[in-house]
Symmetry: C3
Subunit: 350 residues, 3 copies
């Protein structure tokens, strides 16, 4: 991280804006956030996990954001907050506001005369905006992005460079779409017909709610007939694949490289681990947590944590276990035989 | 899905064009396809899976495409087809023909004077076409796509925006390449040499047959020395990785996020599940089906279905099983000991 | 592979430049490298794996590069090298030098007046270079690439088309970045706050050392606060995801589709298999090898090979094993019961 020339803020100003209990000199000023390890006296840090408590003793930070349990366990200037990580996020946003481009359309952008862009919109070089596109106030469309016929982007949206949005898709307010994302490509709709695959036209759209963020190179397929739907507040990490007609409930977060197969229906407030998979046409209840590298093959109706990664081991140990695994049926048979023989022995004895 | 202003067709016209047995008034007209749930009387729907038979009773569809087994189990206007899903695909194609761009080269596209483009080709804004590229009749090259030196695209090809094709690669007729796809990047060819990796030049090409479709953000590496080959009719979903010198047989379909390692040879008419992996240098026979999340580590010589995903469970149950799994060797030892002791007991008794 | 019109070299010239023991007529000339199977008498091939020894008998190659063990097992002109694959890589580089574009900025590129580009740099069509970017001698920036504010690229770097580098990231000398790569997008930093996710600004950078290669559509997130670091000589295959604040040690190679979660610290000279995963905040020692499809969930302190893929089987066999697996706890209980009963039987007997 480079400490940029941010305007500084006093702890008093921060607490006045964001709340929390300030303990220490309110005139202490900071100009950026920092980690415990790399903080300087011009920065404010935070402690969300008590495992790192030792680092507090050696940090050079000018101040720290801390939870209520640790309120009195240190001397330095501090802001006590019920949720120190969320408080930290807000402080960081004060010092690092999102930087949308300036209003205006770059002369190399190709904007269809029938597109409707608010005057405050920034359109970068080489952007292509097709007929019927509607872009709300304050949006920023990065260089080389492509918005197909009839796409809509709500107020305050931020599309990074080289994003592709196919025709008809609708993106909510304050959406953030990172570089390389593809929204609305055809789903994998093919019908086998006498030894050849026949393409099934994909005529649904992708409908995305407000406050959604989509990580780099993630792909979200358009619906086959009806729409693919991502509800408000969903957070998608990088390189996720969302199949056609998937429905993701509000405020669900999905980590990188996960794959959601067609027509899966995922509840609200779920947390889906990285590189996990959800099978097609199943339903996941609200508040379900799926672990990393786990494949969910049938519907889950109860909240809770579900796991299915194969435990790693040294290769030598793994090889031995793998052989046993392959012959698990034999082991069961041997145990059954033992049980029967032992019964016989016991019977004969009595 | 939005019902667009499509020209309507009567059931009589549809059956005349596509065959099938029409039962009901041939003058009934529809103007789009729909799902059972969201159909209106202006749309035609289909039932391919008898599990959804109940939905037929409540659908508002004007007509339905149905299999021969269910021919007489309903009253509404219907077309009976041997393969209702394939029939549906054809009906949908009537209402939703692919929309290639208009013939012509956008003034912002950069086309090398030594490239040969048929007069009917559409080239979008910002496209870059290098020396020696050949593009057949009816192709559409989306905005921001890049075609390297000597690339060839057969008749009727459709490349969506922001596709990259490296030099020398050859794409067959009627190919569909979705946004963000990269064809012909260097394979992972590195040689260890005294503690440092040495790059092995990747001088093969990617050769793709006719009627192939490639999903968004999929990558297909060029061959290391000889070529990477994708035969005709292959269907690749999104975010698939195909390593150098892979050979994929005709009409094989691969679901999203699968990875095929270098020099793997996959047969014809295979179905490879999502997020599955095929190890390098192995051979998969024709008509093999690989399940989702399965890693194939050695050659498969017989048709059939192969599976290797670890079954998920609640986290608590998984933890218990994982511990047992790690100690599977011990369990085998305990069973062997039991067998020996029981033999001893039986012997002593006799 | 097409045999291009390369200048030919005699075996004598090759051995003079690259060393090795030449056996046979030094005037034999070749003009390209080839595989054993597809070689012609104008090409030179290599044998690195003795499994393919039989192919040597039928190859039409003009010469072969071979290891010391096989020095005397054939008649044809040959160069004997300690590491035939590395030698082959060097020979191939003679015939296939990397082709950077010509020096100069394409008229359609948008270069900020405050960017500093060496006069030898090639900038392709539609490239966007923002304020404060610095590009060293001999770099080539492919069409449609985007370099954000303050990005630095060292001498001899090669960026293929449609690459996106976010602001502030620093790329070392001789870096190769393939198409569709995204460097410096926001990491997955979100804080839960009263039922809604709050974005944590991602203010670190990505710092990449010299001689790194990054495969197509790979994504490397910027640090949350401090930087994400990729040390020199690291080789990343396609579609890899590197989370925020990851640190990858020098000369580590990672195969396609792997995912490295945030703040993981990977050692030097590691080899990470395809589609494997490394959990967040853990440490992997130097010289560790991770197998394909393996999830590493805790730190590894010892060099060695670690594996965790579930062994595949025919679907029928897998189903049987999966049931047993799910009931592994029961099997353990049954074995324990057997052990106790057998003890009882033995006790009663004595």
């Amino acid at each position: 991280m480079e400490i940029q020339k941010q305007p500084s803020l006093s702890l008093g100003e921060i607490a006045a804006r964001l709340g929390g209990e300030l303990i220490g000199d309110p005139r202490v000023t900071v100009r950026q956030v920092a980690t415990l390890e790399n903080a300087t006296n011009e920065t404010i840090t935070f402690l969300a996990n008590e495992r790192y408590l030792d680092l507090l003793k050696t940090t050079c930070a000018g101040a720290v954001i801390i939870g209520t349990r640790l309120r009195d366990s240190l001397e330095m200037p501090r802001i006590v907050a019920a949720n120190p990580y969320a408080y930290f996020a807000r402080v960081s946003a004060l010092f690092n506001p999102p930087t949308a481009g300036e209003a205006g359309i770059h002369p190399t952008a190709i904007v269809h005369p029938q597109a409707r862009l608010d005057a405050s919109v920034h359109v970068g070089p080489g952007v292509v905006i097709e007929e019927g596109v509607v872009i709300g106030p304050g949006c920023s469309i990065g260089a080389g992005a492509y918005l197909g016929v009839g796409v809509a982007v709500g107020e305050g949206g931020m599309l990074y460079p080289n994003v592709t949005v196919y025709h008809g898709c609708r993106l909510g307010k304050r959406i953030i779409v990172h570089a390389g994302v593809v929204i609305g490509a055809d789903g994998f709709g093919i019908a086998m017909d006498e030894g050849r695959w026949l393409k099934v036209p994909q005529i649904g759209r992708v409908i995305i709610g407000d406050d959604v963020e989509i990580g780099a190179n993630t792909t979200i397929d358009r619906g086959a007939i009806d729409d693919t739907v991502i509800e408000e507040g969903v957070k998608l990490d990088n390189q996720i694949q969302i199949g056609h007609n998937v429905h993701i409930g509000a405020h669900t977060a999905i980590a990188a490289c996960a794959g959601i197969a067609g027509s899966a229906h995922i509840g609200r407030h779920c947390r889906i681990g990285g590189a996990s998979g959800i099978a097609g046409h199943i339903t996941i209840a609200d508040n379900v947590e799926i672990s990393t590298h786990t494949l969910i093959t049938k519907s889950i109706t109860e909240p809770g944590t579900y796991t299915g990664a194969y435990p790693f081991a040294s290769n030598r140990e793994w090889r031995r276990n793998a052989v046993t695994l392959r012959n698990l049926g034999d082991l069961v048979t041997r145990v059954r035989t033992l049980e029967q023989e032992l019964q016989l022995v016991k019977k004969e004895k009595s």
